[in-house]
């Protein structure tokens, strides 16, 4: 059955676009048909991270305004036939689209793809409301910082108010050494407050920066630790029970995390 998933965070720059690109690529590599929607109208990014910028002719706003057909605006990925991108407009702003139009768009795409991933803009205003409008479920991205967790909590509350099912959490940019020193929130600290299901933990990894600049999602390169994390996340999205990556060889606390979490919620 098809699913529309919005990737959102409240706070900016925590890795929504990185997650959208990598989860999309990983799901496609596992044989699923995937379309990525860049809902960050006016701050288009996903095309660059996917390395597809030079192929854009039409964009999301063209589609909802009827300037082109939906299929004309979909850009096929370089690597996978079963992966597409619907880019954002760079010259418009968030008010160029309404939640109703997004709902309709997601409905049409859902009929054609296994997964529709919506890359949400930061914030809780119109752009966020558009991004969640057509979504069945949400993935929250948070970094181990107090402000990011606070914003994630706010988003979870807003999703609850929209009667969406409880979102799942990706903790991005974890640095085990800092957590061990007590200089960074640990996963259990974050889960303590947010109390939602953990979908994955992505380490802070230089390979993300390299792959982002190259337009090659890290999930497709074998050597990247973050890439492994995103591939695991994709398999969990498909319902597989994948053990959590052991980021910290010294005590393996992430390995125990899932059991801990499963027993308390």
């Amino acid at each position: 059955m098809s699913e529309v998933i919005v990737i959102t965070s409240g706070k900016g720059g925590v890795g929504k676009t990185t997650t959208s690109a990598n989860l999309g690529a990983a799901l496609a590599s596992l044989g699923k048909s995937v379309v990525l929607i860049d809902a960050d109208i006016g701050l288009r990014n996903l095309d660059v991270v996917m390395g597809l910028e030079n192929r854009i002719v039409y964009h999301l706003v063209d589609v909802v305004e009827g300037y082109c057909r939906l299929n004309q605006a979909l850009i096929k990925d370089k690597r996978f036939d079963n992966l597409c991108l619907l880019p954002a407009a760079q010259t418009k702003d968030k008010t160029a689209v309404t939640p109703d139009q997004m709902r309709q768009l997601c409905k049409e795409l859902k009929a054609e793809f296994d997964f529709v991933l919506v890359d949400s803009p930061a914030g809780i205003e119109q752009g966020f409301k558009n991004a969640i409008a057509g979504a069945d479920t949400a993935i929250i991205v948070a970094t181990p910082e107090v402000s990011s967790v606070r914003d994630a909590d706010r988003i979870i509350g807003l999703l609850e108010a929209e009667s969406m099912p409880p979102p799942r959490l990706i903790c991005n940019r974890i640095r085990p050494a800092m957590v061990r020193r007590g200089d960074m929130l640990g996963i259990s600290d974050i889960l303590d407050i947010l109390a939602i299901e953990l979908l994955g933990v992505v380490p802070d990894d230089e390979s993300i920066v390299v792959s982002t600049n190259r337009g090659e999602p890290a999930a497709l390169s074998q050597g990247s630790r973050a890439g492994v994390a995103f591939r695991n996340i994709a398999r969990r999205v498909l319902g597989e029970d994948v053990p959590f990556m052991n980021l910290d060889e010294t005590n393996g606390f992430l390995g125990r995390l899932k059991r801990m979490f499963g027993s308390t919620r």
């Binding site: 706010r154 609850e160 108010a161 303590d192 407050i193 109390a195």
Partner: protein
């Protein structure tokens, strides 16, 4: 989204939900007739159109409609979950009340004077109990209590680390300057004036104040204000806020801001299964967590005023003292 032009239904439309901003939040008047489902839907839309609930509390004027407990509970849930607001009270206004839509000073005064002969029901009692309104009708909006001789910045330190010192009258940082003469002295004995012991139950401390039961975790940005006690069956996360004229009890971890006794009661308490607030207020006294890494609570605790200072103590069930 089926949009109806608000101009379609003039003030005379008997099927319309009407909203008025008041000092204590929003006042909503239900139509005399019409399907409950539509009324709830219209209520939600009217609140959105009014720009949300600023005071955090909604007063519903039933205008002669019979509201059963199930409808009240749905209304309470709708307001709380979709608008972060507490249903403060249900009042019976006159059916022909044609007051202005906005709360001009005149209309407010008029509304207040009328409350004398309005029947006010405590929400938590779901209409089973009726009482005459007494005291302030609502927790005032923006309720930082007035303190004479002390500004809001004069924060009495009441962090857990110093709790033992504060209890003995001396916080690690000492009481804030200016706060000394201004804070009310806490009488240890209960019940206070608002807590009547029921007939034939001498010795039992029975609290008849309306109590709002929040069956969920309050997340960042969510706020509950209630004229009575508030009990949360969940956590209160950082960035969330509870303001109550009575006591606050959190059956989870309190990490946000809690203000008990917001209408000035120095006897109010804040109790939590795990008490780790950024800031606590009881009556007119404010306490904040110590800077740096706060110690973690490992047992249920209660914050209350002792000799005018906010202290945090282990929770001991009444009667075991």
């Amino acid at each position: 989204m089926a949009r109806r032009d608000p101009d379609d239904r003039g003030p005379a439309d008997p099927g319309a939900v009407r909203v008025m901003a008041t000092r204590s939040g929003l006042r909503v008047r239900l139509p005399r007739a019409g399907d409950v489902e539509r009324v709830l839907e219209d209520l939600s839309r009217a609140v959105v159109e009014a720009g949300g609930v600023r005071g955090g509390a909604v007063t519903v004027d039933a205008a002669g409609r019979a509201l059963d407990a199930a409808v009240l509970r749905r209304m309470e849930t709708l307001l709380l979950e979709h608008h972060g607001a507490a249903l403060l009270q249900v009042v019976e206004g006159q059916a022909d009340d044609g007051g202005p839509e906005t709360g001009s000073p005149g209309s407010r005064a008029r509304g207040r004077s009328r409350q004398g002969h309005r029947r006010v029901r405590g929400v938590a009692a779901h209409g089973e109990r009726e009482q005459a309104p007494e005291g302030p009708a609502a927790v005032p909006a923006g309720a930082v209590p007035q303190r004479s001789g002390a500004s809001g910045e004069d924060v009495a330190a009441a962090g857990r680390a110093e709790a033992a010192d504060v209890a003995s009258g001396r916080g690690a940082e000492g009481p804030a300057p200016g706060a000394d003469g201004a804070v009310p002295v806490l009488a240890r004995a209960r019940p206070g004036p608002a807590r009547a012991a029921a007939d034939g139950m001498q010795g039992l401390r029975v609290d008849m104040t309306p109590t709002l039961l929040v069956r969920r975790t309050l997340r960042s940005g969510q706020r509950v204000r209630f004229n009575g006690n508030v009990v949360v069956l969940g956590d209160v996360n950082p960035g969330a806020e509870i303001i109550a004229s009575g006591d606050i009890v959190v059956m989870g971890t309190l990490r946000g801001v809690a203000h008990a006794g917001a209408t000035g009661s120095a006897e109010a308490i804040v109790a939590a299964f795990r008490l780790q607030p950024v800031q606590l207020r009881v009556g007119a006294v404010i306490g904040r967590a110590p800077d740096g890494h706060p110690a973690r609570a490992d047992a249920p605790e209660v914050a209350r005023l002792r000799d005018g200072a906010l202290v945090i103590e282990r929770f001991l069930p009444q009667g075991s003292e």
